[in-house]
Amino acid sequence: MSARLTIVSQIETIAAEQQKKLAPLRDDLALADCGLDSLCFAILVARLEDALALDPFAASEEVFFPTTLGEFIALYERQAA
């Protein structure tokens, strides 16, 4: 499964578990508006680390915090490449 598919599927799983209503997951969707709160994002990053063996937030000195879904996915795709 690609990083993108894994991320989208994990977002949907976590939203269901946490009973959060998701906005349509488009690349230009602001993370702040997607329906997940910071605890949901924390869980997402932890599960993605397990599923993809990637933790882009810890891997580099220069961490930039993504603000849109597209930037979030790109952060993982860049590290996977």
């Binding site: 602001a30 910071s38 605890l39 924390a42 990053v45 932890a46 933790d55 220069e62 603000t67």
Partner: protein, 459 residues
Amino acid sequence: MPFTSDRPPEPASLRTLLAAREGLRLEAPAVRLDTRELLSTTIFGGRRRDFSRKSALIAVKAQIDCARALIELDGIAARLVISPPDFSKEKLESALAQAEVDVVIADDPEPTHLRPVIIPGAPIPSPVDTAPSLKTQWVMPTSGTTGAPKLVAHSLATLLGPATAAPLGPAPVWATFYDIRRYGGLQIFLRACACGAPLVLSDPDEAQGDFLARAQAAGVTHISGTPSHWRRLLMSPEARLIDPAYIRLSGEIADRAILSALRGAFPRAKIVHAYASTEAGVGFEVHDEREGFPAALLDGSGPVEMRLQDGSLRIRSPRTARRYVGRPELALCDAEGFVDTGDIVEKIGDRCFFRGRRAGIINVGGLKAHPEEIEEVINAHPQVRMCRVSGRRNPITGGLVIAEVVLDDAGAGREKEALQGEIMQLCRDRLARHKTPATIRFVPQLDMLASGKMARRHA
């Protein structure tokens, strides 16, 4: 010994401090109060003297009302107990008993208080109080979440510390993501009082963007919060609303990722992370933008004495709290006056790094979770033999709860995803959200120590 000669004289009360410095301005949604108004009005009608030499607990919802009560009653009440906004009813009852509270300041007359309640009203003019001040004891609970609250006794002097001189240059304008009823937030409130600076207070019902817009409109220059507060901000486009000159982090470990992310987002800001706790007081500030702190701080030359003992940081200073209120069986410090912070510190070369809490309390974005409490819930699942809950470092919330589970024979034969779902549902049904494990891993066994206790790794 530091702190003997260069301490400024202690202010008689918060009001005398405000009167001497002026400049304090409190801003809340739809409220803006300057020093003159704060000193010449009362929210207690004609009843301020009812607090004389009494033990009063402040349990109002709005931060601004708490701030006003502190300003009005310091020097009048014998004891002021500051109740945090999320205090449960059980904790409140316990605090009322432990602190021998005579009167409660609240927004409505809650019958379970079993104490007289005074409800703050609209401010009315009040003559300046010229009665002699007494040394009011300030009491705050520690941030632990289980059992009876531990109430920590401070005084205005221990909370203010020696750094009460007004800063050189233009006065800062402060804002804080903290609530002023937490030690970190109270520090900012008192700092604003001491140096005569405006302070923008948030409101629990206010969106982050509205708070930031208000802060920016007030000309905010100095902002404080936990690393989790700052991570939340950085993940929001609202970060662009502010352009602070000074960023302060405290209350959690400031790791390299958050320090460098803040540096990238706020290129002109000075970024400082500070160490403080309700019991130990303010320890130190780190100005070099690196995680951890210089090992040189342990050499006893600084204003605060610090040492490592049994792996944890110990602090002794004029800012450490005096004792716990109503709990004579608990010692706040050792025989030499050092407070064990419980924070595990590792010294590598000339730098010290925080490794976590001795007690293994997991800090999830400022909310605490005790592993044992969660293990108890998971262990209630019929096919779980044992489990170990621990913390895992997380770039968003600082820490996250995870679980390792050993199944019994019946469980071992079942489909793992279904079992994970059942265990998570069990946790969600019985625990606060942040305590539900983010991941559950099934393991064949868990290690045990010679003492018969489970080996724990405290993240």
